[in-house]
């Protein structure tokens, strides 16, 4: 048994649920936001007792939601294109791998913006500093990259 003390899961849902729904909608499209969030929170619940520390839980929930949204986008794309079976659910620990695979076909600037936003969980001011552009431009790069993922689908 670990000695870390995790807060009751629902307190996280109450504290961050609304912003995670906004995030899920932005990533997966408004019509799919609630499905994605439900899936993401169930994935998070599955992994929750295995967390090794109780820090950055909000950022962790953002990452799980991001991964889930990308999986949904990929699954939807496949449904449209082929009869392939749905993708298997990726483990939260491996979100970086699946994330990299999903964004692999985008231009490097777009990939960098997405990584800073969704893997490092930075705000747009910090992303701007890292990319050497304005915060407005940073926000645009992230939203353009997301739009590309949504509209063009994700090559696998």
């Amino acid at each position: 048994m670990s000695t870390i003390v995790l807060p009751p899961f629902w307190s996280l849902v109450e504290a961050h649920g609304d912003e995670l729904l906004v995030h899920a909608r932005r990533m997966a499209g408004a019509a799919h936001g609630e499905d994605v969030l439900q899936d993401a929170l169930l994935r998070a619940l599955r992994a929750y007792p295995q967390l090794r520390h109780a820090e950055h839980l909000r950022a962790w929930l953002y990452r799980v939601t991001t991964t889930t949204a990308l999986d949904h986008l990929r699954a939807r794309r496949r449904e449209v294109l082929t009869d392939e079976p749905p993708v298997s659910v990726s483990e939260p620990e491996h979100y970086d791998d699946s994330f990299e695979r999903l964004i692999g076909a985008l231009p490097e600037t777009a990939r960098a913006a997405l990584r800073l936003r969704f893997v490092e969980d930075l705000d747009y001011d910090r992303i701007a500093v890292r990319l050497g552009c304005s915060a407005v431009a940073a926000r645009q790069r992230v939203s353009t990259a997301l739009r590309t993922l949504r509209t063009q689908g994700i090559p696998t």
Partner: protein
């Protein structure tokens, strides 16, 4: 700002259905205030009065049963119905599974179990009387501690335990709630030996 209730319900029910919830909680409005009811797989593990901080109660359950705690009125519909039937006077038995996981001491656990099994609605017992039932007739003070730390008040009826000296005595939810619960059950609180000995005030 929070998520739509419908979405929260759906997430909580899915969590329970998939066996991902260590405990589920609900808030129930009653004549003695809003109760927080927390239930694990084996039964109700905690009942809190509205003046107790909910986050502390939930954290204590998380430490014991696990942190995967969700809120759902729907998943606890049966528990809510049984408690409501008690407060509406339809059925005072409070026939619900109880889990005393938050009680560490075997003595306190056996005191609370005996209390629940042997002291029904409308009855009262003194601290000393319950001590005798548990088989430790001189342990009235320890019985007092067991009642004071009862994690499942109302369902484990520590409000039915009163001092031998008369009056309703103390209660985790305050003496006024204890008085109201006893009145609701039409319980007769004995005047007690000590108060009987007290000289009557002269008019």
């Amino acid at each position: 700002m929070s998520l739509p209730a419908r979405l929260l319900d759906s997430i909580a029910s899915a969590a329970v259905r998939e066996g991902l919830a260590d405990a589920v909680y609900t808030r129930l409005a009653t004549p003695i205030g809003t109760l927080l009811v927390i239930q694990g797989e084996r039964g109700v593990v905690r009942v809190g009065f509205e003046d107790e901080p909910a986050d502390r109660l939930l954290a204590a359950v998380a430490a014991r049963l696990g942190p995967r705690i969700v809120a759902s009125d729907r998943e606890l519909a049966h528990t809510r119905d049984v408690l409501s039937a008690y407060f509406e006077g339809e059925d005072q038995r409070l026939d619900l599974p109880v889990d005393l996981a938050l009680v560490r001491s075997p003595f306190r656990r056996s005191a609370l179990t005996t209390l629940r099994d042997e002291v029904g609605p409308g009855q009262v017992v003194t601290y000393g009387g319950l001590a005798a039932k548990v088989g430790h007739p001189r342990a009235a003070r320890a019985i007092g501690s067991a009642c004071a730390t009862n994690p499942v008040p109302i369902i484990v009826p520590c409000h039915r335990v009163v001092p031998g000296s008369g009056g309703v005595g103390s209660y985790a939810g305050g003496p006024e709630r204890k008085r109201r619960l006893l009145a609701h059950e039409d319980a007769v609180v004995p005047a007690g030996a000590a108060s009987a000995r007290t000289p009557r005030p002269t008019a």
